[in-house]
Symmetry: C2
Subunit: 194 residues, 2 copies
Amino acid sequence: MRTKTLAQSEKILTAAARLFAAHHFHETRMEDIAELAEVGKGTLYRYFKDKEELYMALLARAACQMKERLSAVDEAPDPRSKLEAVVGAILDYFAEHPHLLDLIQHAEVMQGPDADLPWQRLRRENFRLVEAIFEEARRSGAFQVMDPQLSAQLLLFSLRPVIRWGQKPRPADMARRIVEHFLYGAARPACGCR
Amino acid sequence: MRTKTLAQSEKILTAAARLFAAHHFHETRMEDIAELAEVGKGTLYRYFKDKEELYMALLARAACQMKERLSAVDEAPDPRSKLEAVVGAILDYFAEHPHLLDLIQHAEVMQGPDADLPWQRLRRENFRLVEAIFEEARRSGAFQVMDPQLSAQLLLFSLRPVIRWGQKPRPADMARRIVEHFLYGAARPACGCR
């Protein structure tokens, strides 16, 4: 019996990512993926039993890579820089993987919002990461977030339109502007204290 | 030749909305829609040449109804109440049409982000509506939005996670909290001026 290798699996996933990005899920055939990955159909099916499983493996890989990027957030010196690092890491990763948001939205629509997709586990971890930064800010006196749960959702999800419709290439200070907006709002009040 | 009537078209759209909501687009057959709407298949095809056209008509109808709701925004007494009215109207409409966001996301994924869908025309109008409220706020001295274009995007798109993952039934003060968050940010600065 032939064993599975990581390199082979990577080759298949890379080919699948390219095809899912260029065509719709329903238009992409397992044959096309095998051909682009230069593996036999038998080999392909040994690795992934169907297109759905391949699709989920793609999202799992993206979630894993994204998580690795986010582990660098701890190195930022203060809570506000940490929030900027979170936002920057997410925007960077999506910029490098321009069709990832489509894959995620497609999976959400297909599986329903409550499905336990790999990407949704990462999302929950990201909520906790952001809430932990809020807590650090509160303890250190940097700032206090009044409604941490809603705020974490609003911050992380506000990135979707920036990813999908935002100016490309993204202005260098985008993460800073988004966090500024998030922390202190769109409006400048009359008291002029900032 | 038999003419088309609005009532007949409504009957078909209502049936289609129910089926698209309960099943995936690809699982829903024109036959099922005709059966639920109690019209013949021939009649159905006279109204809508295929499933795609029906789908687009559904989104167009939703966009039109949503636009009607938003016309009430002008009655609110000041810019901040107007923003709350916009947010409230959108959250209400989606709460009454629980599968609409799925239909929209599905259309976005299928058609690509730059397609000229009915819903995307409404989105552009909503951006302009919100930017006009910002401008009114600036003129009246209520508040000044520093980055109106980005801010309008962040406000309108931040509603998606609330629609999709938010607490149901929605707390009565949700629109107020979202606008408060939007205008003055998540953080309370140390100066205590608010």
